[in-house]
């Protein structure tokens, strides 16, 4: 055996020697070539990648996102857009990252290899952040419809954009709403210990405290749980005015039911993860009266909203789950930038992205210097008769005074270590 081992290392050494001497026959590494439109050809195909989890617990949301992006692309194809003197056909490459960070980078690499000109995705922050590094290095613009972790756009990548209000913006609005409009004095907070849930809940906590409320309980569950009796019982004993949950509909629905079973009269407050039609299905009549927030204006209030809903239902024969309109907008923003730059080349239309000013389905989309959607509208809803009824929209027009404050806490984060504000957060929690 010793012999074998020795020879292996020898072999490797020699292999490196061989390499070191330079192999004349070695193929040159693939260069990132853009499928630029040669003037002779009247048509050109542009590949756009889309990434979301298509398997696993979030598969329904993943497919929804992909459908949204696909709709935008099919519509653009139907319009027979002319960019750079050629008629462009877009081709959507849908990939699955299983909501797994490792898988996220693998499919990102795959899309880079496939020489996509842009990527819509990913769905989860956990996969979007590691993948954004690869897209950045490859110079490919990335627009995430639904990754709301603030960190995504704070890495200083010119290629990273998102069309949805981030967790900070949303948590802040929810917190203000709870303390001002709902006049809550005692608040209980639950989060599901995912990057999303914790992010929203922490921002909510900050805003609620700033609004003068006391946090009477801070409890936790996980994104696979179905039993919340223990934490809800504890919360019941603290008699909160409002219970805020940072997490997804699959937990929010049963949680609302168990809340009712335990005889807790407090209203619940969810961020976008709980703001779905699925919530009503899963909570039954126990869902009545609870509140939620959703970035953007209500679908019905948008000029293109009801039409989008109808188009979507007609094309895919299913209802919109959650983020499809954002995926649609993300793809639209990308195509719009290509049109304005009159080029499908990543490097060229990347220059046009910051100047985006598009009336999307979800909002009027403009970006700030980090790539976050500027002055994102956030709408609050209340469950009434098995439906989310829009109460009021905050932002999305007049500059919301809340916004700069929310951003201030993260000041200088693009360059400064991410640890600084993160470390500061718990100190404030006391």
């Amino acid at each position: 055996m010793r012999f074998t081992a020795k020879t292996i290392s020898l072999a490797v050494a020699s292999a490196f020697v061989v390499l070191g001497c330079g192999k004349p026959e070695a193929p040159p590494p693939p260069k990132a070539e853009q499928p630029a439109a040669p003037p002779a050809k009247p048509t050109v195909t542009v590949k756009i990648g889309h990434v979301s989890p298509l398997t696993g617990p979030q598969a329904h949301l993943g497919k929804d996102n992909e459908n949204g992006a696909r709709l935008a692309i099919e519509e653009a194809n139907a319009r027979k857009l002319e960019i750079g003197g050629a008629v462009v056909t877009f081709d959507l490459l849908g990939e699955d990252d299983q909501a797994d960070p490792k898988q996220g980078t693998t499919v990102a690499q795959k899309l880079i290899d496939a020489k996509v000109n842009g990527v819509v995705g990913h769905l989860n922050s956990g996969t979007t952040i590691p993948a954004s590094k690869l897209y950045h290095d490859a110079g490919i613009p990335q627009i995430s419809p639904s990754a709301t972790n603030p960190k995504y756009t704070q890495q200083g990548f010119k290629t990273a954009y998102r069309v949805m209000a981030n967790d900070e913006q949303q948590g802040k609005v929810l917190g203000d709403y709870a303390t001002h409009q709902l006049a809550a004095k005692k608040i209980a907070i639950i989060d599901d210990r995912t990057a999303y849930g914790q992010g929203v809940a922490d921002e909510f906590e900050k805003a609620a405290k700033a609004g003068g409320a006391t946090i009477v309980a801070r409890e936790f569950t996980n994104d696979k749980a179905t039993d919340f009796a223990a934490i809800l019982t504890k919360i019941k004993s603290k008699k909160p005015d409002i219970v805020m949950y940072g997490g997804m509909d699959a937990q929010a629905g049963p949680m609302a039911q168990q809340l009712k079973k335990l005889g807790i009269k407090s209203r619940m407050l969810f961020a976008d993860g709980g703001c779905t039609t699925e919530f009503h299905k899963l909570s039954g009549d126990a869902g009545e009266g609870h509140y939620c927030s959703l970035p953007g204006l209500p679908l019905d209030k948008m000029p293109g909203g009801p039409a989008f809903k109808e188009k979507y239902a007609k094309r895919f024969n299913v209802d919109i789950q959650l983020y499809a309109p954002y995926a649609y907008d993300a793809a639209s923003v990308m195509i719009d930038a290509m049109q304005r730059a009159n080029s499908v080349e990543s490097a060229k239309y990347l220059e046009a992205l910051p100047k985006t000013n598009l009336d999307g389905v979800t909002a009027k989309i403009t970006f700030d210097e980090k790539g976050d959607v500027k002055d994102a509208a956030i709408t609050l809803y209340q469950a009434k008769g098995g439906k989310w009824e829009a109460l009021e929209s905050i932002g999305g027009g007049a500059p919301a005074p809340a916004q700069p404050a929310a951003m201030e806490g993260m000041g200088g984060m693009t360059a400064a270590p991410a640890a600084a504000p993160a470390a500061a957060a718990p100190a404030e929690k006391k």
């Binding site: 072999a11 070695a26 909501a99 590691p130 960190k151 914790q198």
Partner: protein, 354 residues
């Protein structure tokens, strides 16, 4: 004799050249995404070899092995990222990661010494979950792991000042990042293989096998089963710690999601499918299970379209479905693994003959 040696040497050189050229061949032929898949496959081979020491050599069922991978990854992330503002070099972190993971291995091993079989399985599983849960929650009261948000902007691995995250130009060739990591991972995988082979042939290795085959007899032969078992946990964990550190440098982002129970199960499947206790088998298992799912993902849609004219099954369900079926089929038809140890194979034949 000398000619034999020469032949073996020649064979090794050829394998070496092939391994060195592999990323170029794969990158050119199939795309760099496949080189990335290969990089991950090498990480899994390291993990599988580490777990093989515990499960294959010593026969201790460990369902929480990924915890050591997590420890290695988080250690790298904490010591080389803006999170604490530390930027240690890789050559300092990896050995430290190995050491810390080894200590965790002993921590896991100590309370489980008296447990056997399925009790051991559930305790190790619990241990893995405990580590993951702590990583997910240690952002308060003191922010250590940054909780579910994970740690981003981790420094890439740098060797002699060259970051492996950027394409490297040398000798008129350009090496994309995934190629550079491939060479690094390959070198460390070979080291891990070397250590594994040496361990297997050592006194300790024989003691492990003795414990696996019959713990009481081993004890009776004067083997200090306690220390030898602890050593198995520690050694196995060490490999996991190194692989974890490499993972963090490669991904430049770690979050607790990457270290779930499914990952532990995956690594265990690699060891068992390949052939427990047999190093070439385990390597095969690692490579197969890391690469095959990707290949299936790639091939499923075109194949269905060719066969039925439309996509009947979502390629992702199909991929997982086939993966599950493959696990069952391999165990049914080759219960000692795809490439079992010669001794085990004999045992099986004897069993059948009975």
């Amino acid at each position: 004799m000398i000619t034999d040696r020469r032949k073996a040497l020649l064979g090794m050189v050829l394998i070496g050249v092939a391994l060195a050229l592999l990323p170029f061949i794969i990158g050119k032929g199939l795309g760099n995404a496949w080189v990335r898949v290969l990089d991950f496959a090498l990480l899994y081979v390291m993990l599988a070899l580490g777990l093989n020491i515990v499960v294959g050599f010593a026969g201790l069922l460990d369902l929480g092995y990924i915890a050591f991978y997590a420890v290695g990854a988080y250690l790298y992330a904490l010591l080389a990222s803006p999170h604490f503002g530390l930027h240690w070099p890789v050559w300092a972190i990896l050995p430290l990661g190995a050491l810390v993971a080894g200590i965790f291995g002993v921590l896991l091993g100590a309370p489980t010494l008296r447990l056997r079989g399925d009790y051991l399985a559930i305790v190790t599983l619990g241990f893995g979950e405990i580590v993951r849960i702590f990583m997910n929650n240690l952002n308060a009261p003191i922010n250590i792991t940054n909780g579910p948000q994970g740690i981003s902007q981790i420094d890439p691995v740098r060797i002699a000042g060259v970051p492996l995250s950027k394409t490297f130009e040398a000798f008129g060739l350009s090496f994309p990042s995934v190629y550079l990591y491939y060479y690094l991972f390959l070198a460390l995988t070979l080291l891990v293989i070397f250590v594994s082979i040496r361990l297997e042939d050592s006194r300790i290795g024989r003691a492990w096998v003795a414990i696996r085959e019959d713990e009481i007899a081993a004890k009776a032969c004067g083997i200090d089963t306690r220390n030898v078992k602890l050593l198995a946990f520690a050694m196995g964990a060490t490999f996991g710690g190194v692989a974890g550190g490499l993972f963090a440098g490669f991904q430049e982002f770690v979050s607790p999601e990457s270290f779930g129970l499914m990952e532990s199960i995956m690594v265990l499947c690699m060891v068992v499918l390949g052939g427990m206790g047999h190093i070439p088998g385990v390597i095969l298992g690692g490579l197969l299970l890391a690469i095959l799912p990707e290949a299936l993902r790639h091939g499923a849609v075109p194949m269905q379209q060719a066969a039925f004219g439309k996509v009947l099954l979502d390629p992702e369900s199909l991929r997982m479905l086939l993966f599950g079926l493959a696990l069952i089929a391999v165990m049914l038809y080759r219960p000692a693994g795809l490439w079992p140890e010669a001794r085990r194979k004999r045992e099986f034949l004897a069993e059948k003959a009975k």
